[in-house]
C-alpha cells in the first residue's frame, strides 16, 4: 500500500504500470483526476493540511484493505499550483476479481473527495474562486 502527497507532476500511465508490475492480480483499476478547463482557467491551486493529509489518506486506505481482498493499493495526490490538463491525483487498486478492484477504487475516491484535507481554488484570468463541496460527494459516502 503506497500513499504519496507531492507537488511534483506525475505520469499516471507510468505509475499505473509500475504499480501493477509483479502483482499476482488479475484485475487492476486506476482512476485519475485531471485539471479540467471549463474555459478561462489559468491554474488549479490545491491547499492541504500537512500531517493530517497523510493520516487521513492512510486511514481511508486501511479501511479499503479491510473491506476488500486487495493485492495492492496506491494513492497519489498533488498540492500546489497545477496547470490545466495535468493530473491532480490518482488511485490504483489490484485484486483477483474485477468487482473488488472497482469497488475499492470507488470507495477510495469517495472518501478522498470528502475526508482528506484538500481544498481546490480555481485561478482564472478574472479572479479566484474556492471550489464548493458538492452535496453529491457527501451523499456518495452513504453507499458504503
Amino acid at each position: 500500500m503506497t500513499v504519496r502527497v507531492q507537488s511534483a507532476p506525475f505520469d499516471f500511465g507510468a505509475e499505473g504500470a509500475a504499480f501493477a508490475a509483479g502483482l499476482p492480480s488479475g484485475a487492476v483499476v486506476t482512476f485519475t483526476g485531471l485539471v479540467r478547463d471549463p474555459g478561462g482557467l489559468v491554474a488549479m491551486e490545491i491547499e492541504h493540511y500537512p500531517g493530517m493529509t497523510e493520516r487521513a489518506i492512510g486511514a481511508i486506505v486501511a479501511e479499503a484493505t479491510a473491506r476488500w481482498s486487495l493485492d495492492g493499493a496506491l494513492v497519489i495526490h498533488r498540492h500546489g499550483r497545477l496547470p490545466p490538463g495535468e493530473p491532480i491525483m490518482m488511485v490504483a487498486t489490484a485484486a483477483r476479481h474485477r468487482a473488488e478492484a472497482f469497488q475499492a477504487a470507488e470507495f477510495l475516491m469517495d472518501y478522498l473527495k470528502s475526508r482528506a484535507p484538500f481544498w481546490k481554488k480555481e485561478i482564472g484570468a478574472d479572479g479566484e474562486e474556492w471550489v464548493a463541496a458538492r452535496d453529491a460527494d457527501e451523499d456518495a459516502l452513504s453507499r458504503w
Binding site: M52, A56, H77, M89, L112, R115, F118, D137
Partner: protein
C-alpha cells in the same frame, strides 16, 4: 495554550494560517465563540458553523467534542480533494 490552524477561505478571511491561543474553552464551539468575540474577521470566518469542519489533533471531530488534552485544532471548509 493551543495551536489553532485555518485553511482555505477560513484562512483567507482570518488573514493567517495558524496562531497560538490561550484558552480554557471546553469545546471547539466554545473556542469559536471566544475568537468571534475578538475581531470582525473571526466573526466573518465563523458566521456559519454548518459550512465548516473541525479537526482535533488531525482527526475530524464534532464542534461539541471535548478540547481537554488537545494540542492542535484546525478549522476549514468541507474538503474538495480528489
Amino acid at each position: 495554550m493551543i495551536d489553532v490552524l485555518y485553511f482555505a477561505w477560513v484562512r483567507e478571511r482570518i488573514g493567517l494560517p495558524r496562531e497560538r491561543v490561550e484558552t480554557s474553552a471546553a469545546t471547539p464551539r466554545d473556542l469559536v465563540a471566544e475568537l468571534v468575540a475578538r475581531e470582525d474577521r473571526y466573526a466573518l470566518a465563523f458566521a456559519d458553523l454548518s459550512a465548516l469542519r473541525v479537526a482535533l489533533d488531525q482527526d475530524l471531530a464534532d464542534f461539541d467534542a471535548p478540547l481537554a488534552g488537545v494540542r492542535e485544532v484546525a478549522f476549514f471548509p468541507p474538503m474538495t480533494g480528489g
